[in-house]
Symmetry: C2
């Protein structure tokens, strides 16, 4: 488990967040309440709320229990994440999410779209209660999520996708919300402006590392290690950093890979594609890029000294890289 | 044309709103900008912005040009409307919207869902710039839209749908946003609290009348009069007020109608169903209900005296009822 999530105070506050998440989606209609709380009940690591809580306490030597406003801020970023998952699953036609049936598989696309909208609206409602800065920040972050995802969609099955396009896309679809999670924690926690900017930089860079590691795992890990089918990105035509590095850096493998990519994979081609990417140093190169982001994240909060929350945030970035390095070996 | 839309000042301000709508959806990505502005470019009556502008000037003897903040408030409610249309069209699998191809038909469901999310996020971002009250109001209105639509979905093809369920559903899916349009105008326009509540009541009751009239037209009007296939609601299993009145009030027709409803219509059954509903006084009964809402709307703003904007709002409710009464005859 990430060192961040092991802090006892944070564990306790995450319990409060579960309660507030459930309370936040109580609709006038019992059925909508059930659909909207489906993925909340399915659990999750709550990385975004944890970052908000830790950021709010970044200047405390020992992390104290969060104020109710900070808890609400943490809830609002998780609701954005959950709402976007509802819409992602409709778009991917996913049948499972975490260990449960997806909302669209259980209740159909129509209700999944509406319930996703409802979760995003509830996130915005809570954000509004925390002031115009948080409200504006959350709204612009949702817009950036959409931008990142649209950019990714435009380049599905595009073997000419550039590394820059990839990085812009994951900035929008992943890093921006992690940065906002930290920023909301900092704002609601009443930290100084400079500190809020530092925490935001931590979240964005941590988010970049997080997504690259996730993308590398999709190439190198087994179905068992992931708990879901590996190679999903290649099947869906989403060519991520290790794949793009192969296409650019490794001329021989690149030609072979290019013949396979560009459209849906035929039987057996997924294994061939993964073997090519794994065998030429592209995975290490992608991990090196992730490590650079992780180091930048750590440097962003170096100024905070050795408070408990920041120590754990720093350790969490090492943990992230360590876990994938172990699998890659 | 509605008397509200004929006010020269309002016409001029609606031009500013078109410009702001286009500006508001400029994304970092040209493609997303194109998708997000598709329905803006298709035009529309802009009823919601018009209500916001009129409400902001409800205490002015002669309606003056709106402040830039009021224009932004009017833009935010139209963006909510547009975003919800993107998702509606995905859910209905619609091919056309107004006179143009729907977003989903042109670019697919995935991009239509994301662009709808993007429009809702942009609405929230603008609302946040207008203060926490407007931001919270807009977010809670989006949540109510979802509630109203989910309730409608739960009762598709349900011949036992109650009138109360119908009214609750249209309150959420239509009246709440029209009420919020007036309320945002009143808040941003700096009106007194009592006046803001009166304007909100106008919008909600006008919205109820508006939706009932729309639902009656679907039963009584021809394809040519509507500019789209009539009877759409019956085909989709959405049983609206005139239909529900038939099922309750007209025992003979009710039995015949109940045998047809409850599932997809067979060849020729749409005409039979529409004939039954049109022939038994249910249309007049539904129109009487719409008229009651329209009168309540008018009474809500009677207090304002004879300022230009409020006079036009009052006339707009009469116009709404007049147009359908003419068709029904």
């Amino acid at each position: 488990m990430s060192p961040l999530l092991q802090l006892p105070v944070l564990q306790a506050d995450l319990g409060r967040i579960e309660d507030e998440l459930v309370a936040s989606v109580q609709a006038n209609d019992d059925f909508l309440t059930e659909v909207a709380s489906h993925l909340i009940r399915a659990g999750g690591k709550r990385v975004r709320p944890a970052l908000a809580l830790a950021s709010a306490g970044a200047r405390q030597p020992l992390l104290a229990s969060a104020s109710s406003e900070v808890v609400l801020g943490a809830v609002s970023v998780e609701l954005v994440h959950l709402g976007s998952l509802y819409h992602d699953d409709v778009m991917d036609d996913a049948e499972m999410r975490r260990t449960v049936e997806s909302v669209n598989a259980r209740w159909g696309n129509l209700k999944a779209i509406l319930a996703g909208d409802y979760l995003l609206a509830k996130a915005s409602e809570i954000a509004a209660s925390l002031g115009t800065e948080v409200a504006g920040l959350l709204a612009s972050t949702i817009a950036r999520l959409c931008e990142g995802q649209v950019l990714e969609l435009q380049h599905t099955f595009d073997a000419g996708r550039t590394e820059q396009s990839y990085l812009t896309s994951i900035t929008g679809k992943t890093a921006s919300l992690l940065g906002t999670s930290c920023r909301v924690g900092g704002i609601v926690g009443g930290l100084a402006r400079d500190d809020i900017d530092r925490l935001t930089a931590f979240g964005i860079n941590y988010g970049m590392a997080f997504q690259i590691v996730d993308d590398v795992l999709d190439v190198v890990a087994t179905d068992e290690q992931l708990g879901k089918p590996a190679g999903h990105d290649l099947v869906e035509g989403v060519y991520t950093l290790p794949v793009l590095r192969t296409l650019v850096d490794d001329a021989a493998g690149a030609d072979k890979l290019r013949r396979i990519l560009g459209g849906p994979l035929a039987e057996g081609e997924l294994d061939v594609a993964r073997d090519i990417v794994r065998s030429n140093g592209s995975v290490d190169a992608a991990l090196a890029t992730a490590e650079t982001y992780a180091r930048t994240a750590q440097e962003s909060v170096a100024e905070f000294g050795d408070g408990e929350a920041v120590q754990a945030m720093t350790a969490a970035t090492d943990h992230l890289l360590g876990s994938v390095a172990a699998i890659a070996r």
